[in-house]
């Protein structure tokens, strides 16, 4: 039974990946590339120890971002604002970390706390607007993303928080070595796996635990499945919106930390990577808001991103990978939908049979 279940839940994503490979093959073929060579190059390059390390590092970031999105999704809150939340959270955390000269055991928790607090506060604006003023979080978080950029730009360009980090680069004070969370050379001697991966795993475990093992998690899931039933069961829906949004924002606040604490230049600069928030949405959806599913989604996404680097060298437009990612998301949901329909059908069949049995045994 349980093995059957595992097989079932694996079947859909595997089918989807296979399908997207077919689509990409057709596209590549149509534009005259040597399909086999391309895939081979990606596979060889993508599985080198360096690439695998990069993949893990990128997946760490993606994972945190996706969990932040997923927790909102679980109660039908669409937090498009992860981007703004992590950038603002990352900047403030970097500013604080850069000013601290304390041992790591103290400095790192403080840094993480600041990131969480700022991310939550920024999401809190959207939460307040929704619960007190009825403003759709979809609109408010889109707007808040842009406003966050303005705030960051202002802070780094016009206040003492910003300083020249290198020629033509402005950013926060560089975080002293104590405050960093560099990581270990697990797979490759030349590159380290981010230390923050531990935190990401912790976040995943906590996410699972809170959602499935606590009353709060039950309330949250109930609100997502049926707001009216949840409120009749004693869930205060406004409070739930606020708390969930704050948690989502708090997790989002940490999205920038793996890069910030684990890689050069150990400073939040104006070129800090943007767009992790949107990737998080896709991965949360791909992983169906499930902590393990998201982990697989993040790793797959990161693998594709990393291995796509080789494509320029192979004279194939790298965007073929973006296409593949889009197709995978589409194909996965279609496959899941087919599996779901099957499940409903067989469940109803079981119910029907159970009914029939009882009836015949009764008469």
């Amino acid at each position: 039974m349980s093995r059957q279940k595992i097989l079932n839940s694996l079947a859909a994503p595997l089918l989807a990946v296979a399908f997207s490979l077919v689509v990409v093959t057709i596209i590549l073929f149509a534009f005259g590339s040597n399909v086999f060579e391309v895939f081979n190059a990606m596979a060889v390059y993508g599985t080198s120890p360096r690439s695998l390390t990069l993949m893990l590092n990128l997946a760490t970031t993606y994972y945190i971002s996706a969990v932040a999105v997923a927790i909102g999704f679980k109660m039908n809150l669409f937090n498009i604002g992860v981007n703004g939340q992590y950038m603002l959270g990352g900047m403030c955390a970097a500013a604080v970390a850069g000013s601290l000269n304390l041992p790591g055991v103290v400095a790192i928790p403080i840094t993480i706390f600041v990131a969480i607090a700022v991310g939550a506060a920024w999401a809190g604006v959207a939460a307040w607007l929704k619960s007190a003023r009825g403003v759709s979080e979809v609109i408010s978080t889109i707007m808040l993303n842009f406003i966050a950029l303005g705030l960051i730009s202002y802070t780094i360009i016009r206040t003492n928080v910003g300083r020249p980090a290198a020629l033509n680069v402005r950013g926060t004070e560089i975080i002293p070595p104590n405050g960093r969370m560099v990581g270990w050379n697990l797979l490759s001697p030349s590159i380290k796996v981010y230390g923050f991966i531990i935190v990401a795993i912790l976040i995943g475990v906590l996410y699972w635990f809170v959602l499935n093992r606590t009353v709060f998690g039950y309330d949250l899931r109930a609100s997502g499945l049926s707001a009216s039933a949840a409120s009749a069961s004693g869930v205060n829906s406004k409070r739930m919106v606020v708390i969930t949004m704050l948690i989502s924002g708090g997790i989002a606040g940490m999205v920038g930390l793996p890069d910030l604490l684990g890689n050069d230049p150990y400073s939040y600069t104006l070129n800090f990577p943007s767009g992790y928030g949107f990737t998080g949405i896709a991965i949360a959806l791909l992983g169906r808001n499930n902590p393990i599913g998201i982990a697989f989604g993040a790793i797959l996404w990161a693998f594709l991103d990393v291995s796509s680097q080789i494509l320029d060298i192979e004279n194939v437009p790298r965007e073929i990978v973006t296409i593949m990612q889009g197709v995978i998301v589409l194909a996965v949901v279609v496959a899941y939908e087919l599996v779901r329909r099957n499940r409903v059908k067989s469940e109803q069949q079981n119910v029907g049979e159970a009914l029939a049995q009882k009836e015949s045994s009764a008469s």
Binding site: L129, I147, Y154, T322, M324, G326, V329
Partner: protein
């Protein structure tokens, strides 16, 4: 107040707003606040947002939430750049619409026929649209003279634009006199007749046509019924699936058209990243506009207007701050008279703070101006009471024959 007819009230509201705007213009000393150029540019920036919003409206009216507008719009910019480069601007428009429609068709297949989660499918379309456009751009433009990996060669020729001089010019002269209220009205109306691209005119027509089609024709009623209660529609013999397909495809073609505007009128090339999130902002204006064409149009125009203000002149933003303050204070007094104490007091305090900000600042950080459109949107939404009525089944999958 309550006894007056709605049209008189709207008129009174409009005139009061214009009066406050005029006061702000004079005190902030920025005639540009209501100039013809500002209005014309505001329309220009509003068109792609409004078209995206209108696209969202079509699809959501039939019960399909379309987060994928951004992706369809990106496909549109590519289609416009590519076809426009080959065969000229009108071909570009056609190309954009076609590409937007293709994106929408895929979206419709998975959401309508397979019934998968619309948010997920929309997100996938955004990723796919971006990837496809960039992929095709690399193939099509990399080696074209004047093109690059992420930029098309220029579109062949320009779309014509019209200025109705005999209306626009006298109004403009009036505007430049700087008379209280009158000049402001003149300036804003003048903008309606000045440097209008054919696509802008088309957009206005499409807004009117949308309202008319959806609320006056049997086609529109059936389409809306597919979003309000597909099971009821089905029992009356309406082919729900077909209407959903049509709505989504129209949605995609409008998003494509929004892309065409950017690549043909806004500038004359396709550029990667050119949509700059406007699909999402369009979606926001649609919600802002309560899923109605008029409201969506107003939302897009307000957004375009404020963005224009900040782009044209930082001083405009001071005028805007003053205007916002005056509106809040006026609302506060109205509210106090009808006894809404707490909110009115809050408005009064915020309004006074804004006046203070206006007086204290002679020069604002550019960031303040840059985020003004977004902040204003939030403030408007937070102060306006939200009585939104989304289509009843928007976002829900519909399966034929499974209604109880």
């Amino acid at each position: 107040m309550n006894t007056k007819s709605p049209s008189i009230r709207i008129f009174a509201f409009f005139i009061s707003a214009m009066t406050l705007l005029s006061i702000s213009r004079i005190f902030a000393d920025t005639n540009d606040l209501t100039s013809r150029g500002t209005m014309a540019a505001a329309f220009g920036l509003a068109v792609p947002i409004g078209l995206a919003g209108l696209g969202g409206l079509w699809s959501e009216r039939a019960g399909i939430v379309n987060i994928g507008l951004e992706g369809m719009m990106i496909l549109g910019t590519f289609g416009a750049g590519w076809a426009g480069w080959q065969w000229g601007p009108w071909a570009g428009v056609l190309g954009a619409v076609t590409f937007g429609m293709l994106g929408a068709l895929l979206f419709a297949i998975v959401t309508v026929s397979f019934g998968v989660d619309q948010i997920i499918a929309g997100t996938a379309i955004n990723i796919l649209g971006l990837g496809l456009a960039q992929f095709l751009a690399k193939l099509a433009f990399s080696n074209a003279p004047g093109g690059g990996q992420s930029q098309s060669p220029p579109v062949k020729g320009l779309l014509p634009s019209v200025t109705i001089d005999f209306i626009a010019d006298p109004l403009n002269t009036l505007q430049q006199k700087g008379w209280f209220v009158i000049s402001d009205l003149a300036g804003m109306f003048s903008g309606l007749f000045y440097h209008l691209s054919y696509l802008t005119i088309l957009t206005v027509i499409l807004f009117v046509l949308t309202g008319w089609t959806l609320w006056r024709t049997s086609f529109g009623l059936r389409l809306r019924s597919a979003g309000e209660s597909p099971s009821a529609a089905e029992t009356l013999g309406v082919n729900v699936i077909r209407y959903k397909y049509i709505a989504v495809i129209i949605s995609g073609s409008l998003a494509g058209l929004a892309g065409a505007y950017l690549a043909i009128v806004g500038t004359n090339v396709y550029r990667g990243g050119q949509t700059a999130g406007r699909g999402y902002i369009g979606l926001a204006t649609m919600i802002f506009g309560n899923w109605r064409p008029m409201g969506t149009g107003i939302g897009a125009t307000v957004f375009g207007y404020i963005d224009t203000l900040q782009l044209r002149d930082n001083a405009n933003i001071r005028g805007l701050v003053l205007f916002g303050a005056l509106v809040l204070i006026a609302l506060a007094f109205l509210g106090l008279r009808s006894g809404v104490r707490a909110t009115s007091l809050a408005f009064l305090i915020i309004g006074s703070a804004l006046v203070g900000g206006f007086l204290a600042s002679t020069n604002m950080a550019p960031e303040v101006a840059q985020v003004a459109p977004y902040v204003t949107t939030l403030l408007v939404l937070a102060t306006a009471s939200q009585r939104l009525r989304p289509p009843a089944t928007a976002g829900m999958a519909y399966r034929k024959g499974e209604s109880h």
